[in-house]
Symmetry: C2
Subunit: 138 residues, 2 copies
Amino acid sequence: MAKNKIENLEVGQYYEQEFVVTEEMGEEFAKISKDFNPIHLDEKAAAQTRFKKKIVHGMLMASYISGIIGNEFPGEGSVYMGQNLSFRGPVYYNNKVIVRVEVTEINLEKKRLKLSTTCRNENEELLILGDALVMLDN
Amino acid sequence: MAKNKIENLEVGQYYEQEFVVTEEMGEEFAKISKDFNPIHLDEKAAAQTRFKKKIVHGMLMASYISGIIGNEFPGEGSVYMGQNLSFRGPVYYNNKVIVRVEVTEINLEKKRLKLSTTCRNENEELLILGDALVMLDN
């Protein structure tokens, strides 16, 4: 588990991690989240939608963002205050997704950080856009 | 799976569902989300934090919100465009949490809905506050 002190962070600093979600992981996430929407699980039903294929639960990607913030960057001591998510494009199973968390604002007095949080595919297309508000009191 | 047509929805209409997250569910969510932050999993580490006890992953609660939107209210045909989340208070294991999704704006022309999304505990304390943007094209 990483630990970054707010005094040592700079605007523009970032952390990136790649994820590939398999259909089995999607089924597991459906069980735990109780979200059995066929768009995530049923190829035939998904074929009838604008996305043509099954798509990964957006909140699974958001969970990866949350995991990076709490565990890696900034890591230990992060208190997650808020997260905005804009779902711009579908995340498909078995495709590589790059999650990036980047410092955009630092408030040393309030010990708060604003982080840009994005998910992109291999073609650099933006799939999820948003930002996180974190208090970093370590 | 429920299906609500946008023409039949009204501002103020809502759906509520209760959830109780056990520690086992938290451990399962940690595995699938790769978020092993000790604040969710380690009683001793959590005791050192402002929350005093282990807390449920915020994104698990957000996943329940997402599940309600996609499956129940509005349900079938919902395209999840965005979600804002403000984490106001800790969700503790084995405590009842009431998730509420309420229609706050309807745009018939664009087929878009704004939904208020909240998580409260049994004492009516607001734990998670936010809103969702949904396209409902069914």
